[in-house]
Every structure is written in C-alpha cells, then in structure tokens.
Subunit: 227 residues, 2 copies
DNA sequence: AAACGTATAAAACAAATGTTTGAAAAGGGA
DNA sequence: TCCCTTTTCAAACATTTGTTTTATACGTTT
C-alpha cells in the first residue's frame, strides 16, 4: 500500500529518475501525446513501460494524477527555458526589442518539438490536448504552469512596444501561441503542410520554422492598433 | 435492421432534419465539442437527445461514423461560407487585397463561433479536437473537408501578394489558422484571456475579435520573406 | 540469518462501454 | 381492416476500463 496518502499532492512516493516510475511516466507522456489521454489505457502504458498495470496505481494513484503529472513534466521545462531566455534579454541592459521577445517564446518551443530529446518534445501535442479537452482538473494544471509565463511575456511585449496598450498585447500574445502550437502540431513533421503544399513547405528544419514564425509574428505585433 | 449497408458511405438511412436522427447528431456535436470524442459515451448522447442508445447504431452505425458525420456537419458550412466570401472578392473584378483574403477566412469563423446558431458554432473546438487526436479516420474527414479550402486561400494570398513565393504563403496560412482557432477555443468566451489580462481583453464582441485578428494577420502576411 | 520496508506480479473486481437482439409500437398505403 | 415497412425501446451481450487485492520476491539493515 502506498506510503503517504496526502490529500491532493501528486507524488504518492518519491519519484526516481530511472526506476519503474520514470519508465511509466515517460511511456505515459509518449502515448498520451500520440493518441490522447482517454484513448490510452493504463494497460497500454504498462505494456509500453514493461511494467505491471498495478504499478501505475502504486506510483501515481489514479489515472487522473498521472495525466496531471505528465502535463507538468512536459510543460514545466519549456516554460523554464522561455523565462530564462526572457531573463537573459532583460539582463543585457539593452532596451527590449519586440522581435527578441517573440523569439524567446518561439525558439525554445520549436527546438524542443522538432528534434528535442526530453519530455518537452511532446509539448505541442500535449498543450493542444489540454486546450481541446478543458476538463477541470486539466485546466488547473495548465493555469498553474502557464499563467505567470503569459503575464511575463505580455509585460515584456508592452515594454518593447510602449505605444500599444496592454489589452492589445494580450490578444496578440494569444495569436502567437496559437500560430506556434498549430504549426508544431503535426506528428509526422509537417506531413499535412507538405502534402497540401506539394513539397513547397515543410517543417523538418527547426531554424527555418523559427525564422518564418518570428518574421510573421513580429510583423503582426507591429500592426496598427484599432481605433 | 438498417436498410442500406453500403460499404463505407456514412448514411445508413436517409437523414431527416427534425427527427430523432437530427436530434442525435446535434446532441453529439454539442457534447463532443464540450468534452471530446472519447469522453462522451453513446449513452450520454442518447440521453441528451432524449433517444434510445440503440437508435444511434440504428441511424449512424458505429460511434466512429457518428463522429465523422459530426465533424462534417460542423466543418462543411464554414468552409462553404469562406469559399463564398472568396468568390465574392474575386467576382468583384478588383485586384485582390491580402487583408480581404484574411478577412474572408476570419470573419465567418469568428461570427460562427461567437454567437452563431448552427452546428458550425462548435467549429473551433471540433477542429482542435481533430487536430489534437489525429486518429486516421478523423484525419480522413478533415482532409476531405479542408484541403481544397486551404489550397484556394493560398492561391488567393499569392495572387494578392505576388512578391512572396507559394511556400511562404503556406506557412503563413497555417499561422493564420492556428491563431484563429486558438483565440476561439475558449468555451466560456475568453475566460482564460480575460482572467489572465485582468479584464483588459475579452472575446465576447465578434467585431472586436475580427478586427484584432485581421490587423495582426494582415501585417504578418506582409512581413519580409527570408533570405 | 532473520526481519522489515519496498517493489513486482497475477488475478480478481465492479463499473462502464459500444453494440446487438428481439419484440413491441407507429405509420402508411392497398 | 390487413399487411408491410419503419421506428422505438428495454434488455442483454461481450469487452474493456480503472483500480484493488493478495501473495511473492527483493534488498537492506540488524
């Protein structure tokens, strides 16, 4: 029987880095990102992790908290990287340029999702799943992980473009997130885009994706505000 | 037993506009959009439609084909509206302006999702679900419904901005779709955006959303292309 | 070696799921 | 009215689901 039966805290046991629990979490993330939360069964995860189904309850409790933990594990490192990039910009002392703020958001995400190795490589799909599902318990985790990052980036955008009001920049930050996630969504690396464009565009080169995104979004940020 | 057992064609029976089958389809769309495909059971749908669970198999066959039909019913009318808007632009004889092309994409979508009454009001959520899940049978429907629309819009963008190459415009079209869908995703009408922005921005006014989107995206379309 | 907290395993559990069955009701011409 | 098709419904079906149980092995400490 699990040791600590804390009221809501996730870890029923301390989590290791190489043990069965780590294998379960990694398998869960991979499968969730591939097929969705409800579509993947605990038996699927157990099999993929070469573990017993019971060990999932043993380490993570209910499936819901495994999902929450999976989301945290995917989202947290990317948010760290983005905030670090923003910190670096602000620490330089030079005045903020809006295209650098955009890049601080875009670059870690694209690099992680295209060719990354950690759990954050599944960021785009996991994020879209949480947005699409919007079950309360998922919303909770999302907000806990992402709200402060959004606020910090909007602050930075407003600082870089003082002529625009904060509300406008909130809109545009969300436009940026939408474009960014959507382009990274495709599991087969631009399959849809490539098929539709008959080979004209593909998303296999991270640098090209970053460049295209930053150009487009930076120009959008500069659009004249409404009346 | 159902009349026609066609090999793959969706309608096992002719579909009516007011009968039990119509009620089932509408309930299915509403519930799917709210909670996701796998999260909604056929019993949920039957109860919401005041019908018998068996009538779902009777009219639609397996749950999978009900899902496919739901997607079609939501996506098709919006694509019609967008193509009609594009037709109107081109029929006017005047040279295409890229911001009008953007508007032809954005305006019907926002109006449908914010205050629309038909099945297409669930467009954003259903589309994100299909993108997020990417099960083969869902992919099929999506591609059947959306590929030609994407191609037409990219054509129009290239016609409006001949200095940019087609590949670039494919990228940017996808950025547009991402931003558009993402901003419309929130079920409680900008709840997340409003909470995060402390009241500064909300998505309750369709005209304001359209304006903000068109400005941002049109400016993005004009961004200088890469080297 | 003995004992103890930890980890794994197979099996069992109850609940929920998509789908089918078979019979009853409703409808609509002849 | 009779006959035939179409629709509805309650019940049953076989799986699959998340989770728990119970027992056995493991590893460390005494």
């Amino acid at each position: 029987m699990p040791k600590s039966s804390v009221l809501s805290g996730p870890p029923l046991r301390e989590r290791s880095e190489t043990g069965t629990d780590a294998r379960i979490l990694e398998s869960a993330i991979t499968l969730f990102a591939q097929r969705g939360f409800s579509e993947v069964t605990v038996r699927d995860i157990a099999e993929h992790a070469a573990a017993n189904p019971a060990s999932i309850s043993y380490y993570f409790g209910a499936k819901e908290s495994l999902i929450k933990q999976a989301i945290r594990t995917v989202v947290a490192p990317l948010n760290e990287q983005r905030l670090a990039a923003l910190d670096a910009l602000e620490a330089s002392g030079a005045p903020l340029r809006h295209e650098d703020v955009v890049r601080a958001m875009v670059e870690p995400t694209v690099r992680a999702c295209l060719g990354g190795v950690g759990p954050e490589r599944h960021y785009a799909r996991v994020l879209v799943l949480t947005f699409a599902l919007r079950q309360p318990f998922v919303d909770e985790v999302m907000s806990e992980q992402t709200d402060r990052v959004a606020a910090r980036f909007v602050d930075a955008l407003v600082a870089a473009l003082p002529d625009f009001d904060r509300a406008t920049m909130y809109w545009r930050f969300d436009f940026m997130v939408g474009a960014l996630i959507h382009i990274l969504l495709d599991p087969s690396r631009g399959y849809r885009l490539r098929r539709v464009s008959e080979g004209g565009a593909d998303t296999s080169d991270p640098a090209a994706v970053i460049d295209a995104l930053v150009r487009f979004l930076s120009a959008g940020m500069l659009a004249p505000p409404g009346p």
